[in-house]
Symmetry: C2
Subunit: 397 residues, 2 copies
């Protein structure tokens, strides 16, 4: 018996590939500052666990395949508070943003059809598409200009008769880019003129800095039938382990069609839906101090990195990631060396190599993604350690 | 923009298709006895909610993609108690048995390859396979002989060079069949001789009656590298809403490969894994009174149905389903009529038409699936209502 080719061809998580080296470092007594994963240290609002602890449950029964009606309503109310037109009938609750993205990919693309994605992109987009034999096609963006989108002409030149959608995260993972209103409108125009869906992963919507507001594709009122919005409580409310996401669209056919996928896997986890309802009912002021905290952390980390000789790190305007170009031949080798061969006072730093966030070979080999999900003192120390490490790294360029 | 062909071609849940008619009946004040879905009324063991209520969680973080290590260990311990050899490294925790089945299908089959499944089968097998462009090929079994497997020669005649696996539920949904040790051994032999995987959905393992014990494919020691065991807490512990399942295999390559799918969707829901750990730590005697209760219900329902003139209902030995052949032209029309046009003292019964549980056109048109997940008094009354309904049904044959 042979394991399928598509299974064998799938990537192992490039973010998690270095984990064994970090574990070994910790076993040697070394403290590892983890800038590699987007797991916030912010406390989950207590309303989440309170709602679950107070739930009277005798039989933990299947929930509605579309989602617990109260959570669907709370999600719709959340959208309306931020000016987006999604009614309960437009929304399906999913097992995290992950499932919403997978379902969006299936819904728009048949076997061997393409979805265009600005690169670098969240590597799991590739893992979501691969089992369905959907191709991710890259649209390259560059650290040097803050990962702005290319021109309309260049984007259109990437479209083929197999392109079914443009998918993107905004604010962006791994880049932290927040697309301008003009960029969002340009993609909306392209979608309309070239008959495409837009799959808009907006899970970092609230995390924008210096007063900037991210433009949602849900504001592009003349193409709303082409827009699929993906959301999640994971980052928004620091509830990554809940695995509660959602998919929303004003397309008249899609919700009924996609619900067939929902019915096949029966429902999202019941308790976590109860907790997530409480999260979406929080007052919007919940985000203010958190946004401020992330902005401070971003400033500490990015200013610190940019001050290191040879490092390029443009300060991103959203999410809680930044990409740093390092003066090294190969950033994965450097990241591994930090864990296996370097320490400063028994401390080191773990970063995520970015090469695998690009689809185009050769891109991103000297880049790492850093997540500012640690306290500012820890971030300062992490910058100091990176500075010292780069000074003695043998493969520096 | 066009919704994908595969999305449009997917079935809506045939079990849930009649729900609007049941809702309308309830609105008219009619009590509906639901024999249509496998949602047990048994209370979820309180250990589940206790474990979650007592969990000290500040940040609800991502769990391990392979599953919470304590749940993996508890699942392995459960397997060892029942004589199956699955170690923690052989097990991956999934979002319900549903995700385990999807992953098994991807792992063994590429686009347009086939999986052979005895029909009638749990209709969602089709929905699990369709998005991946995997074909389900039916191996017909018949109500008249209790849905026993056909001969080895007949099964082998169904294999082609595209067949990658045989998938089946044992004890069976929707049939309640428990395959004999000889049947299980025959499939093991076929798998070995024809180089196939076996995907064994054994989520009803504990629900067997009259002292019978289901034979697990995990006991087929000379083909364990070909066996993928699918399990779930849903029915086992009446915790359907938890969405916690698992996949287990002694194949040396599969766990690492399938974990790539696990990493891409990050993790199963954290809280529900904490609760499920407590479930798998329950003493095995937990099942004794429940098994007895289901056996009583089965006897009430099946004996009652079999006594109705023109109804064929062989008493199944496992799970909590039975298939009844009714003296009607079309069982779906009858099921709908029960909800729209019939009532006895403002009460009626909802059953699941079985035609869609078959892949072969024309099979099962006069069959319904009944689940004995109600109290015996309610089952008695449901039988009485069905008897009265069949007496006056205009399309009786």
């Amino acid at each position: 018996m042979k394991i399928s080719n598509r299974m064998m061809a799938m990537q192992a998580s490039p973010i998690r590939r270095l984990v064994p080296f970090a574990d070994a470092a910790r076993k040697r007594g070394i403290k590892v500052y983890g800038l590699n994963v987007g797991q916030p240290d912010i406390e989950t609002p207590p309303e989440f666990m309170d709602a679950i602890r107070n739930a009277e449950i005798k039989v933990l029964a299947y929930a509605n395949s579309k989602g617990d009606p109260q959570l669907v309503k709370a999600t719709s109310d959340y959208y309306k508070r931020i000016g987006l037109p999604y009614e309960p009938e437009d929304i399906i609750i999913t097992n995290g943003g992950s499932e919403a993205l997978m379902w969006a990919f299936i819904a728009v693309a048949d076997v061997d059809e393409d979805i265009l994605v600005p690169e670098p992109f969240y590597t799991n987009y590739r893992s979501f598409a691969a089992p369905y034999a959907v191709n991710i096609k890259p649209l390259t963006t560059y650290a040097e200009n803050g990962f702005a989108l290319p021109s309309e002409a260049e984007i259109v030149s990437k479209l083929t008769d197999k392109t079914r959608a443009i998918a993107l995260s905004n604010p962006g993972n791994p880049t932290g880019v927040v697309y301008t209103r003009e960029e969002v409108e340009m993609l909306a125009k392209i979608a309309k003129e070239h008959d495409l869906f837009i799959i808009a992963d907006e899970v970092y919507r609230e995390f924008t800095y210096e007063g900037l507001k991210a433009t949602s594709f849900g504001e592009m009122t003349d193409i709303l039938d082409r827009v699929i919005i993906v959301d999640s409580v994971s980052k928004r409310f620091s509830a990554c382990g809940a695995r509660i996401g959602s998919l929303a669209t004003k397309n008249k056919e899609l919700p009924e069609q996609i619900l067939k996928l929902g019915q096949s896997r029966l429902c999202a986890p019941t308790l976590e839906m109860i907790g997530s309802t409480a999260l979406y009912q929080l007052d919007p002021s919940y985000f203010d101090p958190i946004r401020e905290r992330y902005q401070n952390r971003r400033d500490v980390l990015c200013d610190g990195l940019a001050a290191i000789d040879g490092v390029l790190c443009k300060k991103p305007m959203g999410a809680f990631y930044a990409i740093a170009k390092l003066p090294v031949k190969n950033a994965e080798d450097f990241a591994k060396w930090m864990l296996t061969d370097f320490n400063d006072n028994n401390e080191t730093v773990m970063v995520a190599p970015v090469e695998n966030f690009y689809q185009t070979p050769g891109m991103g080999v000297d880049e790492v993604r850093v997540a500012y999900v640690l306290k500012t003192d820890d971030l300062k120390r992490a910058v100091e350690i990176l500075d010292k490490a780069l000074k003695v790294y043998p493969d520096r360029v």
